[in-house]
């Protein structure tokens, strides 16, 4: 080994040591509280749940390993398929409403008008109202002799006597409308933030080129809002597939399970029938479905990159 080689090696080792000594552990310390809390209350229970899904577990007795029996039962459980189908219906009805309508609301309240903050507040109010209170209020609206039927009769549908929440066909759309109404203000706010970030220069340029307001919306606003769509789509998907409170309060899953969502069925199995093993197995399936839908949504919105 010649002298030069030794010197070079020596300097490399010192450099490495230096780098090692310089390793900045401070950010990791700051991450620690979140990691500890998340692991304790989120990841460990999730791993536990994964284990319980392969057991027969009724809370008051120790879990008993039964392999994939819970998953096999699920495949033959009509109620599970019905609940899953209903959750998909909620998703298909609610998501378009809370993705599209709030955009128009946001465009409306994005205008510089006198007292516009008042309208923003009005649209946002349902978001901060407790779901239990909102659901009870809507139950009165949907009552056979409630305001909605009275309104329909007033505008000419004289035979409007729909029992919204106890009609197996009308109940899902009825609950979806309430959910969309409640969530609209929240999504409006996200769109509003997105709209306000759109470059004024681009809009100005489009106007000078003679673009109509619709063309400006289509070719300037919407492409710029793509990252916002990515967020709203994922949030709306996660929210609607997990719908629970409104259904629990308004129909309890009835009539004849026609409004039973998968989360509500999981709840009933877990906390009413105490069948935790089966409930966690369904929870796992729900988690996989949500992951798949999230990835699809993310791909559709092209990873949230805006198109310039």
């Amino acid at each position: 080994m010649n002298q030069v080689e030794t010197t070079v090696r020596h300097s490399v080792v010192t450099e490495r040591k230096k780098r090692k000594r310089k390793f900045n552990f401070v950010p990791y310390i700051f991450l620690l509280p979140a990691i500890v809390l998340l692991s304790t209350f989120e990841y460990l229970p999730t791993i536990n749940a994964f284990y319980y899904s392969f057991t027969e577990y009724h809370v008051l007795a120790p879990p008993e390993w039964i392999g994939i029996e819970n998953y096999r039962t699920m495949m033959n459980d009509d109620k599970f398929w019905k609940a899953l189908g209903n959750s998909m219906k909620y998703f298909l009805i609610t998501v378009p409403m809370i993705i599209i309508l709030p955009l128009f609301l946001a465009i409306l309240v994005n205008r510089k008008l006198k007292g516009i903050n008042f309208f923003r507040l009005i649209y946002y109010l349902p978001v901060v109202t407790a779901m239990v209170a909102v659901a009870i209020m809507w139950k009165y609206l949907y009552h056979p002799s409630g305001l909605i039927n009275a309104f329909l009769q007033g505008i000419g549908f004289e035979n409007a006597d729909i029992n919204w929440l106890l009609n197996t066909n009308a109940a899902i759309p009825a609950i979806s409308i309430l959910e969309a109404w409640k969530a609209m203000g929240f999504y409006m706010l996200i769109y509003l933030a997105g709209l306000q970030a759109v470059s004024k220069d681009l809009i100005e340029a489009a106007r000078i080129d003679g673009a109509s307001p619709i063309k400006i919306l289509w070719h300037v606003y919407l492409p710029q809002l793509r990252p916002v769509f990515a967020v709203t789509l994922v949030m709306a998907t996660l929210g609607t597939i997990q719908m629970f409170t409104s259904i629990y309060i308004m129909t309890g899953g009835g009539p004849l399970d026609s409004t039973m969502s998968l989360p509500l069925y999981i709840y009933q199995k877990a906390f009413v029938e105490l069948d935790m093993g089966y409930a966690t197995a369904m929870g796992m399936v729900l988690w996989v479905i949500l992951m798949i839908l999230t990835v699809i949504n993310y791909k559709i919105s092209r990873g949230g990159h805006s198109v310039q």
Binding site: T40, G252, G253
Partner: protein
């Protein structure tokens, strides 16, 4: 290390571990150094309306037993089973818990309750009505001490609606046929008003004298021609307005047409304590109401859905003392006091012999209800079948009844489906 860094690290430590410290078991012995025994006592939703009464019992017991301290916890009705199960998983177990008898049948198979007959002398259970103790006996173990119950149901009608519909409020329905006929007439005359919300529950079937199980309790038999004809009467009633459109709801609290909103004309069977909530929510309706003997079959039998009880968990550190306290709360004297506060029925025979039940002046609708209830008490039975997964199976039955009412299935199909499900469960 400078001060800022030290403070920062300390904050991080506190943020990370303090919440976890809170999760550490905090097991304290419930026997204090001076020998005082602490008992945790749970009731369901009684503090608001009967707080003074319960506190009075607690104070009196503590005075008579200076070595016992009672910690009274009142749990909201809908949460009690969940809270109890969560508590059973932890080390912080209540000692005396108020549970509905239907909940006992849900958790009894997990072997978490102390048999009461092993904690107290058998004679101590003598004052309670035999049928009620039998209803709480599973595999020869008495798992609960009977407390109060809603009493036999009574019939109720709105006199104003009856008069408007051309019916005589002094001639209420006595059979389900009459109930349907009158309900139909009411809905025809007053389209916004329906007959009632009664559906053919298992209690109604039992009251009608229709059997649920065969004699050796191995098979369900509620799909015979008699059963189908009886249920069919309700299905027709649902179509013609004798039964309200909201009667198919899964939760009684969600009924759409009620006495309170003036859309219900009568009920064939309702627990009399329901009058308390009507009085509270719609005081103007109470003077228009009239109570009558419940609508039943020819034998006049009426069945109770369940009763309130006290249980002592196996994890309790002082089970004997807990059972002794539960016996005190449910003794004849204390139950008599309770029945004077609200239209409920006691589980002790002696209480029923008090002049309060045998010789009283009828001053209001609650007294009228009590008079009827005392009269039909001898014909009271409990709808406890003593089979595995009883509550779940009863729900399956009701689900099929709702399907028949909504016209999703014929009555025969609905009852056949339920019977098939029951027999599959019973054969396991």
């Amino acid at each position: 290390m400078n001060r800022k860094k030290v403070v920062g690290l300390l904050m991080i430590f506190l943020l990370s571990f303090i919440p976890l410290l809170a999760c550490a078991p905090d097991k304290e012995s419930t026997t204090e150094k001076d020998g005082t025994i602490e008992l945790e006592f749970w009731t369901i939703n009684l503090k608001k309306n009967f707080g003074d009464y319960i506190q009075g019992i607690v104070d009196e017991y503590e005075k008579e037993n200076p070595n016992v301290k009672i910690n009274w916890v009142d749990v909201p009705g809908a949460d009690v089973t969940k809270k109890f199960i969560t508590a059973l998983k932890s080390e912080e177990v209540p000692d005396v818990v108020n549970l509905a008898s239907t909940d006992i049948s849900l958790i009894r198979s997990y072997n978490v309750l102390n048999p009461i007959d092993k904690l107290v002398d058998e004679k101590e259970l003598d004052p309670y009505i035999d049928g009620l103790v039998e209803g709480l006996t599973f595999n020869e173990n008495v798992l609960g001490i009977p407390w109060y119950h809603g009493g036999p149901p009574v019939g109720m009608l709105n006199t104003e609606i009856y008069e408007k519909a051309g019916l005589d409020p002094d001639s209420p329905p006595q059979t389900w046929d009459e109930y349907m006929e009158m309900g139909k007439q009411i809905h025809e005359k007053l389209p916004d008003v329906y007959g009632g919300n009664d559906i053919p529950t298992m209690e109604v079937l039992i009251g009608q004298g229709l059997p649920i199980l065969n004699e050796d309790r191995t098979k369900a038999v509620f799909n015979s021609k008699e059963h189908v004809d009886f249920v069919e009467m309700f299905v027709k009633g649902y179509k013609n307005g004798a039964i309200a459109s909201g009667a198919v709801t899964e939760d009684d609290r969600q009924l759409q047409q009620t006495f309170e909103n003036g859309q219900q004309a009568h009920t064939g069977q309702k627990v009399a304590s329901g009058l308390v909530s009507i009085e509270k929510n719609a005081p103007s309706v109470i003077p228009k109401l009239k109570v009558f003997k419940p609508v039943t079959g020819s034998e006049g039998k009426v069945a109770l859905g369940g009763i309130q009880t006290f249980v002592v968990p196996k994890k309790s550190e002082h089970p004997e003392e807990a059972a002794k306290f539960a016996l005190y709360v449910t003794n004849a004297k204390n139950q008599l006091e309770f029945t004077k506060l609200v239209a409920i029925f006691p589980s002790t025979e002696e209480t029923l012999k008090d002049p309060f039940f045998t010789d009283f002046e009828v001053k209001n609708i609650h007294d009228e209800a009590r008079k009827i209830m005392v009269e039909i008490s001898p014909k009271l039975t409990i709808n406890t079948l003593g089979i595995e997964k009883e509550e779940e199976l009863k729900e399956v039955y009701l689900e099929q009844i709702r399907a028949a009412l909504l016209g999703e299935k014929s009555t025969q199909e609905a009852l056949d489906t339920a019977v098939e499900h029951w027999n599959e469960a019973l054969s396991k």
